[in-house]
Subunit: 115 residues, 2 copies
DNA sequence: ATCACGTGTAATAATTATATTACACGTGAT
DNA sequence: ATCACGTGTAATATAATTATTACACGTGAT
């Protein structure tokens, strides 16, 4: 079984780390939960999630980096610029084999120390 | 489909966050990859992963907290105390619906600020 | 007694992540 | 012109994670 984010199959372990990292904070899971019901613009999203807009941007950045969400700019009827965020498609299966496979490409660099 | 870690089904979002957090670092994925081939004792694991023992303990702690690994103490034939780590069973399916469900129980506390 | 090889952990340093504050700019309505 | 409501981001503070250093203790073999 393949793991997908944004219709792209995940290969590099960095991609996985990025996704896990994105999912390792309650606010970001909350964001995903809200976007699961439909796209939303930043200011409204901030109110729904209950965080400040600058903080929301920080969290969205992580989600975008992991490609779990995407954004598009639009000009509303009343002339306001609005940035909409929406969920990307994703489907991951995580188990011993998945991670084991990933692990193969990971090399931990020389911390030049033993014991 | 249910998500399991250590034969226990995951319910609370904190459990998920804990797992995602545990998986969000290359060293920890490497550890899982090595333990997937069989149990290993701490000092040897440190050499295989190529990190110092104190640092390894830190990473193992996160994996243990997420219940992805477990440990047992043994006295070897030559009288040495040895701590073995091994993988727990785990199987997670992560998608829009999974996270959406999780999201419902997350309440972000009053950062008392708007904008 | 010293070495090799296990165990464990406390204290600190360095680096990232998270959160806050304070700005600036644009549009349409009052 | 001021307000309400969008946009964006730089600078800073706070907190957490990650990494290092330096210990201490136990056993069996040399």
């Amino acid at each position: 079984m393949k793991n997908f984010v944004g219709n792209l199959s995940l290969n590099k372990y960095e991609d996985y780390v990025s996704v896990f990292d994105a999912l390792s904070h309650p606010v970001r899971i909350k964001i995903i939960g809200i976007l699961a019901e439909g796209r939303q613009y930043v200011s409204e999203l901030a109110r729904l999630v209950n965080v400040s807009r600058p903080l929301l941007y920080m969290h969205l950045k992580k989600l975008e980096t992991a490609r779990l969400v995407k954004s598009t700019m639009e000009i509303s009827e009343n002339g306001k610029a609005m940035k909409f965020y929406s969920l990307e498609y994703f489907e991951l299966e995580i188990n011993k084999d998945t991670l084991s496979e990933l692990s193969k490409s990971i090399v931990i660099e020389n911390p030049e120390n033993g014991s």
